[in-house]
Symmetry: C2
Subunit: 498 residues, 2 copies
């Protein structure tokens, strides 16, 4: 009996070894087939289509970022006008670019097109003109690491957005995350490297799995433009406020300590902070990060085509691709998993909208105080409550996906925002009473985006006209100049190998 069992086990083991050997040979063939380079990619190559010649599967999937966006929650594929959907936002951002124009983000493929079209970048007429600094290009294109290598980092951040319009033309792509020689994931944006340094960490020690999130964290983070960066005074130097940590309180303290503000609110005159999109920071506080799941695991899961396994570069909401993302670990139905996500999002949205309502009231009530002759001294504590409450709201709202990535932390942040709002509104009620207005303050008509924008004093006709002029006159020149330049290094850089 014992011998028989031993014999059987041996036969099985030998058979399985055979299978394994066959599999290894097949994989080797795949690899061989896959990695024969068609062209040589030069160090600063910004054109995704050049990289795509060597990596057609990755490139073709990347091109699909044209087809869908992250609008999985409310559905739909078009670019949604968030100011139209929620007119309160215009009040919250009065005096800041986002009150002019704020659409839901689209796929990476649209990065350059959308920043051309946004009213936030205004209608520059030429170099040195327009509202935004060159720093605004930083996350939009693989032309950015190219330019930084060519002219230097601080030089890149210097000057106006319009100054570099001819240079930055390729949408976010290959060279933003990959080393052109080894194809290894690489950090191309100095802000992330410097943020690690500020925390006493060395990003070069990150594991490959960590890199599968860190390449995203080059951009999907909270940041600000530091005009006091030592050695680069006056330059809006892209900086992540991570020195004290990445929690909403740690970053708030960082900004408070240096008395930084993104802008002064037009109604309340509060020294405001704009949370950009602290997606990486909030992701880190959630259970997926805790379990070692990277951004790419869900947003760029492995895919198989024609016997080749590769990373799907169609970066999108996992809800559009549950089978390859969620269901690798979770055994529930796709519909149930989606419902679970929506449930978390809806609960967060409920609290967020309550805080949003309170913030609108605070700005309008503060304006009323000023109108009634309040002094700086009387307003000081109130304005800090507004700053802190809105920072918390924005941290939760702007961190795309936070209500799913980290629903409990997001809820905690929103609760602490509501608590700040309570304090602020009680102070406002007392001050209003002192100023002779002991009753509710009349709220503006926010029944449409137009009315909200009119209320905060925006001349939308002028802004739209300026943008149209820009698109008609300057933008075509940028694109023409870029085409010429690229045609030039087309022959220089892309030499055929075989």
């Amino acid at each position: 009996m014992k011998n028989k069992v031993l014999f059987i086990v041996t036969v099985i083991v030998v058979f399985l070894l055979g299978l394994l050997a066959s599999s290894i040979v097949n994989r080797k063939n795949e690899a061989k087939y896959k990695y024969v380079p068609q062209v040589e990619i030069s160090e600063n190559e910004p054109r995704n289509e050049e990289w795509g010649k060597n990596f057609p599967a990755e490139y073709q999937s990347f091109l699909q970022t044209e087809q869908s966006d992250f609008a999985s929650f409310q559905g739909g594929n078009a670019m949604r006008d968030m100011l139209e959907e929620d007119t309160r936002l215009a009040v919250l951002w009065a005096g800041y670019g986002f009150s002019k124009d704020y659409n839901q983000g689209r796929g990476h493929q649209y990065a350059v097109e959308d920043i051309h079209n946004s009213l936030r970048t205004g209608g520059p007429k030429g170099k040195g003109d327009g509202p935004m600094p060159a720093t605004c290009w930083t996350c939009k294109s693989p032309d950015v690491p190219r330019l930084m290598n060519e002219i230097g980092v601080a030089e890149f951040y210097s000057g106006k957005w319009a100054d570099k319009g001819e240079e930055v033309v390729n949408p976010i792509g290959c060279a933003d995350c990959h080393d052109s020689k080894t194809m290894k994931l690489t950090i191309t944006r100095p802000a992330l490297v410097e943020a690690f340094e500020s925390m006493g960490k060395d990003i070069n020690k990150a594991t490959h799995q960590e890199m599968r999130s860190l390449v995203c964290a080059q951009c999907h983070v909270e940041y600000y433009f530091d005009k006091k960066s030592p050695g680069n005074e006056g330059v809006p130097y892209l900086t992540f406020p991570w020195k004290n940590g990445m929690s909403v309180e740690a970053m708030e303290k960082y900004y408070d300590d240096m008395e930084f503000k993104d802008w002064t609110h037009k109604l309340s005159r509060a020294p405001m902070l704009k949370a950009q999109h602290p997606g990486y920071e909030t992701y880190l506080t959630g259970v997926h990060a805790d379990r070692g799941v990277s951004c790419a695991d869900c947003h760029m899961p492995y895919k198989s085509e024609g016997g080749q396994k590769f990373t799907d570069h169609h970066i999108q909401s996992p809800l559009n691709n549950v089978a390859n993302s969620c269901q690798v670990c979770h055994r529930e139905d796709a519909e149930k998993l989606r419902a679970n996500v929506y449930d978390r999002q809806q609960k967060a949205a409920e609290s967020r909208l309550k805080l949003e309502d309170a913030l609108v009231k605070m700005h309008v009530e503060a304006k009323k105080c000023w109108d009634l002759g309040a002094t700086e001294e009387q307003m000081k504590a109130i304005l800090m409550d507004i700053r802190h409450a809105q920072w918390r709201w924005d941290y939760a709202a702007a961190a795309h996906g936070a209500s799913f990535h980290s629903p409990v932390e997001t809820a905690r942040v929103l609760s602490s925002g509501l608590d700040k709002a309570t304090e602020g509104r009680v102070k406002l009620a007392r001050l209003l009473a002192e100023l002779g207005h002991n009753k509710p303050v009349e709220m503006p008509d926010l029944s449409s985006k137009e009315k909200a924008q009119e209320y905060i004093g925006l001349d939308m006709e002028k802004l739209n006209k300026e943008k149209e002029d820009f698109k008609e006159n300057l933008l075509p020149k940028w694109l023409e100049a870029a085409e010429k330049r690229e045609a030039n290094y087309g022959s220089k850089q892309a030499s055929v190998v075989n």
Copy 2:
């Protein structure tokens, strides 16, 4: 080759079938050994030790509920004085029994002992005396279904707590959840059956897995004493407010529509609701319920002793027993899983304490308004804000485990409570200004439980004295009478079978 593989597969299958057959025979032996009854359990048998003669493994594990409690978060085994740990609670419950005495719950084995000792049940001197109705016994003992069967449900709920002191002596146990003949899980408390009926559901259609939560839902729920129950007017009839649903809003609407209040707050005079312990309701909104995990799966996981598999009746926090509970599904380290739970609890606690602070302020500010001559009309909307804010706080606080069972829903509820608090406090600030007090209201000294209880006007010396008298005089008589009665049906009910 093909034949050889077929031969090998056949050999393996036959071998596995042999293993299976052997396992089945062993299991049958186990079952036979287990189910030979030592005594016959009569229908109304309330004594756990009698049931224990037939089910020693279950009974012995049940006895361990003496050894630990649910204090897993902050640790420790002793009965914690929650009013001492958080003196604000006394203010929140001013005018209600919980402000006198509120200890953390202990194991089921202590159910009767703890209700004897609680200051909330006062110091009755005999039948018809004391602050609480008989209904308060409902969840404490298997003597309850016995009595209900013997005298009727409404009759059980009638009269004072002291009236049934001789009758209710066995702590929560076997007969609360099991049928004495079939041992199947069974619902012994009419309130749950009636609550299902009120929702148009039939609890008899519940699956066995649902029953593994529903037996717990007989008690671990929100409830109130309905004195207007048709046919039983005047009797404090135990009722679950589930007719509109189990969400915090649905139950609030239920109470608001009938203008029900548990008590009038002593400071603010708000018509208050006391959330009891909506553990089942909140559990249902969480991911474990969504995945079909029952209460028993985690709090009473299967256990094996001497080759017998049985349900561990040592009902306790799964954090004391991670290997048999969490790790059946979750592959992470026990320490990591515990840390994950603590993280959720801490985040909920942070928001809950913020709301608690706001509630204390609201009660004290409302008192100040009354002191300054506010009218009922001026106070009406404020008192409803207080009622609704505290109901939300209590729903999240009293639902033991809610911050783990359903952290996102708990956070949503707390946020909505903070929102109500904002509205209420702004109204209070305006009214205070109108009444000539346009500044912060002085807060009481809550640095100790004694100071807090003194502030709300409790005569603790008197309450403690009454309780001591009760324990010295009436309680021994109850226990003596019960012993006699049980000795009597001891011979009557427990006939030896073999």
